[in-house]
Symmetry: C2
Subunit: 125 residues, 2 copies
Amino acid sequence: MTVQRRVIMEALAERKDHPTADQLFDTVRQRLTGISRTTVYRVLETLVGIGVAQKISNPEAKARFDADTSLHHHLVCERCQAIGDIHEPALNQIRLPEDNGTGFAITGYSINFSGVCPGCRTTKH
Amino acid sequence: MTVQRRVIMEALAERKDHPTADQLFDTVRQRLTGISRTTVYRVLETLVGIGVAQKISNPEAKARFDADTSLHHHLVCERCQAIGDIHEPALNQIRLPEDNGTGFAITGYSINFSGVCPGCRTTKH
DNA sequence: TGTGAATTCATACTAAGTGGTAATTTATTG
DNA sequence: CAATAAATTACCACTTAGTATGAATTCACA
């Protein structure tokens, strides 16, 4: 466990907006001058690999990360692409399709709700 | 409606693997020599805008497109990132969380199942 | 505190996507 | 069917996101 990993993990854990690797890099470099961009990318992959963070599925062309690895779901804003969390126990009861005819061995799932975030709702058009 | 749009739409509609913009560009350029990469990107955004195609949420850092805009869900392979469709009526009955405490105006949803695809299941490791 | 292994830094690179402008092409209208 | 205005496309350069490689540093443990 290195200083870099701790700082990156902390930076990810303290925010709820599912940042991209470059966003985290901008945050982390202010706390740890000289940290390299490559390190942030690599450490994030490591964190995902050991199961303390996850990549969020999203329609944008960039990876987004989340320090919350519990079963929960996401709200994606159609306008500004912001991503919010939704913890709703009722959504965690979905029966995994066993015989789905696709041959996939399903291990988990996550629901992406699309909609319009509070900020974009109040902004005209 | 231009030739380019028709060819791109056809190329997207005839495949089920949710291709990226560059994958479509490679296909389309063989049918329409001289078509520009930018055009493929722009037309795909247009097709999404008019509602005849959609962007698929996925954990990779690239946009994936789908000509099927009906309510259905996706299977994402953890190993090779392949994306398959799953049409399961039971999954289309989810009640949209009304009072979700987030202020989001929810308009739709899609479930991403994670797992291992048939190809990767039979390949060791 | 020394040593080997793992991690990080620096740099350069590839891949994915965007922006601006001139040139085409389309659709429309007479 | 030809003229023309509007929309679309091509070309080029550029930004952003992510990856590869090897040298240098740091960590963990004896």
